[in-house]
Amino acid sequence: MLLRVLRKLQLLIWRRRFHRDLGEEMSFHREQVEEQFRTEGMSAEQAHRAARQQFGNDLQLREQSQDVMAFRLESMLQDLRFAVRQLRKNPAFAGTAIVVLALGMAATVAIFAFVDAALLQPLPYQNPSRLVVAYETTNACRECTLSYLDYLDWKKTNTVFSSFEAWDASVYLWRSPEGVQAVRSAHVSGGFFRSLGVAAMLGRVFTDTDDTPAAPRAVVLTYGAWQSRFGGRQDIVGQSLILDNAAYSVIGVLPREFHFALRAAEFFTTIHDPSRCEQSRDCHDLNGLGRLRDSVSLDAAMAETKAIAARLEKEYPESNKGRSARLVPFRDAIVGDIRPTLLVLASGAGLLLLIAYANVASLLLVRAESRKRETVLRGVLGASVARLIRQFVTEGVLLVAVAVALAMPAASAAIPWLFTLIPERRLRGMPYFRDAGLHPRVLLFAAAVSLLAVVVFSVTPVLRLSLSNLREDLAEGGRGAAGTLWKRFGSNLVVAELAIAMVLLASAGLLGKSLYRMFHVDLNFNPANLATLEVNVHGAGYVKTDRLRTLSQRLVEHISAMPGVVSVAHTSDLPITCNCDSVEFRVLGHPWYGEHDKALQRVTSADYFEALRARLIAGRFYTEADDRSKPRVVVINRALVKQFFAGEDPVGRTIGDAGLSPESLAQVIGVVDDVREGDLVEPLVPALYYPFQQDTDGTLFLVVRTGPAPGPMMPSLVRAIHQVDPNLGVRNEFVMDDRINDSPAAFLNRSSAWLVGGFAASALLLGAIGLYGVIAYSVSQRTREIGVRMALGAQRGAVYRLILGQAGFLAAVGIVVGLAGSVPAAALLKSLLFGVQSWDVPTLIGVAVVLGICALLASYLPARRAASVNPVEALRAE
């Protein structure tokens, strides 16, 4: 075998000699035959002709011999040279096909890179598929945190986890050489990293002994924190850091590829000594993380944790009533909300690629039609069908190769551009996207896409070849009526293109409308010129209420004195954040049957509603005068009134906690319009607003209404806060408008609307090009017919009607098929849509009209050409 290959190689090198030998050998043979005939009594000329006849086609013969000997490579090179010449001869065709194809491929590959990063790339843990996230679940809250004591019980009594750990989010005020910095951190239990299967890159990670009150305080850094905050210095392990006024020693640095999407922490510390919250079964602050034992299924683990929760419910009814358990595979927990968006985008890109394939295939078909003569000629001259097919395949390969050469750099440029669609705040929760790139799996995908393209583009012209009859084609002379095959396939392809364009347009329309609806929900406050900042006070030593109250006063006074500041206030949770931090409440005097009514609880400074420009509906807002010397007051929102005070005047009523304990009672003094506390797509829910002076709480989110644009004022606001106390931590400085734009639902909807819109616009363009191509080709084929019609008295209007009618029929079929296809597409979109039915008639009609107009424009040009046919010339050309 090897020898044979070597011989073939040898032949490849000396192929000129091979050809010369073969040629000489054959002419010798022919002469001998000729001589033979002459000796049999033929004339010289007769013998010559007879020999030629017997010998057959010299070229074909040689090719056959060569096929035995040579690699296909040589004829491939020939084909390739020919293919390049062909493409260069038709730059318009080649350019269109290559650009269309490259566009489709680049979009698909770039989107796939993100799909790969989120859904396929293994997570940077050992055996990540065995990791689950554990929640407590109640009627009101599906995925809730655990109390520390519940966590310990789950950990102790389960038999399904090889390890069960806990973590919670925290923020440390780190006293850095440059001043105090608030750093995103997490408390983790001692076995957290061991359970993930992550080892330190430098130093070590935590062990169970680090997670005891007696152990020295230790911190583990992420690679990113080590690089950006400590310049990657090698002697970091053993250094001491001051976090929240306590000394922690750095014991390790995590590897570069480590990420924990549930909390983008930079510093990790242990739970160490349970906080006051963690000593009560009522206070829930921990997230569970379990590693399933090898033989245990998710269902079995779910059943057991539920059983444990039920046991705890029986044992501690007052704290655990109605609490069950819920386990979610780790990957689902971190990609849950992005998965539908990714699938929609991948489908959109796939459809675009499909259109690109159809478009190029129909271009190839047109070209195969106009190259009929060439094909016939080559066939007659002795090219075997296999050889002709090989030529088409080579052209397909060349086309795809050039397109890939353009598409891959485009895709690799598109990936960082796609990153810019993700706001930095959201990217933190999707660290896996940072690895998106042209990785082996993505390259494999690109190869598969290209291979499919090669198959499609080689099969299309071959189809034409095999279905037509060489002799018929020759008789026709490459002229005559438009090929029936072309009519059948070409117009089907265009209908498919238009239908896909319709589906993409409809999806983009729905997403656009949903985005519009989202940005036009009632906020019930004025978001313009509003700066928001989170001030971390606890780590700076503000724990007692007196100190907090003084701090609040000083902050408000100092900042409101700044030029450009209109008003300042603070709250315990900013609007457009979450429908979280809710409490149970009861209305004094209302009948009570043991139900757990919940409302959001916000603690705000007196000017909060004024700073937000929220509307007062009844009663009054609280003021600085409502302090601890006065009876407790509360402002409620409209949703609470609607739900709990139907037909009653709430002002003057009293609200308290679930047990109506005397110290919790507060009088309702006013009703405020529903300030949107949750994300844009979340419903408006009941809320209670308490004055900071009476109900002091340690979380301060500053809200500053500014005269000029708030963005440029941020640094001076941060400075002003540090002038009040340099030890305060300040983070999450965002303009309210950005907060709204980058809120999770808005960001997901916006990026999918933009991308699907881009796909749809490209699809529309490609569909129009496809339709133009079909109609233009048909006009060029029917020039004679049109000439005859006009010579017989047809008016220009009739010619227009003829051509536009043909185009209109194709477009109409495409639109109808596309409408049918939009139904499943909209079903896929459903989870992304807000305020729009997936079957939104105005959107679908609008989209159909847009497509129809584009189709009309695309077919107008060829129709005009047809109408301006000069009958005399058309007939003379015969």
């Binding site: 050998e25 010798f28 043979h29 001998q32 057959g56 011999s65 096929d67």
Partner: protein, 109 residues
């Protein structure tokens, strides 16, 4: 052309090898020899002769060299190699057992 019987498939290589077992010959010579010996029954088409020769060359069952004919023309002479001779033996015995088998079947009916 259609009057002449087709060559049994697979037998061309055997015929060429057998012909060459008498000594080296050029392509025309092989074709002429087969035609003459078979009394014009078997005609080797040039279209199959040369590809077949290339195939045999590739298998190293024959080798080729340019020589001068009696008529002082340059021609390419093919010679059987040792492997070729062995191959001829193999193919011959295969052929004979097959013919014998066919014969038995035909006589039986």
């Amino acid at each position: 052309m259609g009057k002449k019987p087709e060559l049994l498939p697979g037998t061309l290589d055997l015929l060429i090898l057998k012909t060459l077992s008498r000594g080296s010959m050029h392509g025309y010579g092989i074709a002429a020899f087969i035609k003459r010996i078979s009394v014009d029954v078997l005609t080797v088409e040039e279209g199959s002769l040369y590809p077949a020769l290339q195939r045999l060359l590739l298998q190293r069952w024959v080798k080729a060299a340019w020589k001068v004919t009696e008529t002082k023309r340059r021609a390419r002479y093919y010679t059987l190699t040792r492997e070729g001779r062995r191959q001829l033996g193999d193919e011959l015995s295969q052929y004979e057992s097959m013919i014998a088998a066919i014969g038995r079947v035909l006589q039986d009916t």
